[in-house]
Subunit: 364 residues, 2 copies
């Protein structure tokens, strides 16, 4: 994809030059990322941008600065791609501040927020991810399972064995598309576990080995790389099961994986996994597992508020199971953590997941 | 160490039983972790506890609940060690809430904070870390370099090659002592880089390979496991160089690695690395590298306040270089990020570090 990104930047540059040569005002057009252009795609079930466009015309005084900034960013990305080197949006910001400051305009970029915003414009305009422009984002998340990762990086090709990670796990990078391959996958499903602590518990029990699973923890809210990798596994036909706390944060993690998020709607198709299913924990688990009743804890105001908000979302409303679940939290003012499943014995959590999968007992 | 932890819990239990048999009130004694008993060891240069003890007497009404809670925790840890299974302090809390609730007293543990505090008492009393009791803490931090890790975990022994980590790196676990070995270390020093982004930059350039270094990022403030591992590398005779931003957060990360912290003074000796040296970035870098002058950013109030606070610490005051550095920030109200070193070209950061090490140009 980074080859494609490079061509697309060159194509953009050629178009601008041709506009100048024809005495037309050079223009940069992107897809609008304002709220009014973010929609929930009812047929595909994820958040994406609509068709509204935004234009930056060099000869329009109100737009010329942003036009110049955008082109400066595109030029830097092209340079990184040519050098075959990576950095972050912060590294890009300092390069812009350094080189443009000397030659053109000392204040072209004052704050990083300015350049961050324009990088998203470029991603949306060229229908590519920043990772394809050699910009990596924060990474978080760990994986173990029966697969191999072929990683071409820093001038070397490394084969990483997903079954030989010991207590630690393979850290999921920001870019899981370029010069990296996930092969020899021998797993029946992917289990995504909110908390690193529970992931470690399951890893210690060899759960992924016994169950033929790929075991992922996003370590809280999933980073771009982890969301993208989950999407890729779903594309390979693997079922995706998500296991979180029954609270505001847990639901947010699940729904972000499933439908994408407003902030990243501009790459929704690349990172949303509408096929994902919710394995638990749920307030309905209290009926099945009596011991959980005394292990609920008080829901916080944020949990109640979030549950109420979620009940207004169209894509939640159409799932009766989710409406029931959220209403239970609002009514009882209680919440439940996945850690409780270690209470009777540490390995109980393994059985809980195994049963849920065996009985295909999921929330949609 | 986990074998030793088990014996120590058994020894504690035997002593209590013997006290009961002798009609003496059973007592649990730990080292006080209150501020007044935390001291900076002037000869060893790290934060540790003093000699003040705290006693929990079962027959003292004010102490009996905490006595019982502590013993319940010790019993659970002994069980985890016997089962050879791990969990977190949250998993422990739910086990306590579950099993004690049924048989003894439903309210013995209401909040996790109660049990967390007593786990630290147990660590201090038995001079062990919670990791030795099969309790893992949050993990964070990544490593790459010329070494091998022999990890005996979940019934299998895995050999992990620290040079075959690709773009990703080996995730540093919470427990780096029990059933895990770091061998075949062919490195001249350890470089600890505050930001994951800069670690990835250096990893891409193969910096650790060219320089014969072990490259660690704590990914911000160092977790227990990462601090412990740095201590272990120092014990092997490797110099430890720390590379952070020149701001409140960066200094805090460095000094925590070097002297330990107030919160973890009770295991200070295990996690502090007074031998660590500070490689940068420093405000004095502005004199050496002219381009940095326009890349400083405004110091935040927290940076100024922290610099002022640090100037009051005895162990800072005795280092003139640090006093100068902090005073520069207070005077200029500017700060400098490590990311700026990518401004002239992405690989400049490699040269910066190389030069600093070549010229042994460190802050103490």
């Amino acid at each position: 994809m980074s080859e494609e990104a490079k061509s697309k930047i060159e194509e953009l540059a050629r178009r601008l030059v041709s506009e100048i040569n024809q005495n037309k005002p050079p223009k940069f057009t992107t897809i609008s990322r304002t709220r009014s252009n973010i929609l929930f795609d009812e047929s595909a079930n994820f958040l994406r941008l609509g068709n509204a466009e935004e234009e930056r015309n060099f000869l329009n005084v109100a737009q010329s600065k942003r036009f110049m900034q955008t082109i400066a960013i595109a030029a830097k990305c092209h340079k990184f791609l040519t050098e075959n080197l990576h950095t972050t949006i912060r590294g890009l910001f300092y390069q812009l501040k350094y080189s443009l400051g000397e030659d053109i305009d000392e204040t072209l970029f004052k704050e990083e927020e300015e350049s961050n915003d324009l990088i998203e414009d470029l991603e949306a305009a060229l229908r590519m991810k920043r990772e394809d422009f050699n910009l990596y984002a924060n990474r978080k998340g760990v994986l173990v399972g029966n697969l191999k990762i072929i990683d071409e990086f820093g001038g070397e090709t490394t084969e990483i064995d997903g079954t030989k990670q010991g207590r630690s796990g393979w850290a999921i990078p920001s870019d899981v598309d370029n010069k990296i391959k996930f092969v020899d996958i021998k797993a029946k499903y992917v289990l995504v576990v909110e908390k690193d602590a529970i992931w470690q518990r399951l890893n210690e029990d060899g759960f992924w080995k016994k169950e033929d699973a790929i075991l992922i923890t996003p370590q809280g809210q999933a980073a771009r790389g982890t969301r993208r990798l989950i999407r890729k596994f779903a594309d390979m036909g693997l079922p995706i099961y998500v296991f979180t706390d029954a609270d505001a944060w847990g639901w947010y993690i699940y729904w972000t994986i499933k439908t994408g998020s407003i902030n990243l709607a501009y790459i929704g198709k690349e990172i949303a996994t509408p096929e994902a299913k919710f394995i638990g924990v749920t307030m309905s688990d209290l009926e099945e597992y009596d011991f959980l009743k005394k292990l609920t804890i008080a829901a916080k105001e944020v949990d109640i508020k979030r549950a109420q908000e979620m009940l207004n979302y169209e894509w939640i409303k159409k799932h009766k199971e989710w409406v029931d679940e959220l209403e239970k939290v609002i009514k009882t003012k209680k919440k439940l953590e996945q850690d409780t499943l270690q209470a009777p014995r540490l390995t109980f959590v393994d059985d809980y997941i195994r049963n849920k999968i065996k009985n295909q007992e999921f929330l949609p």
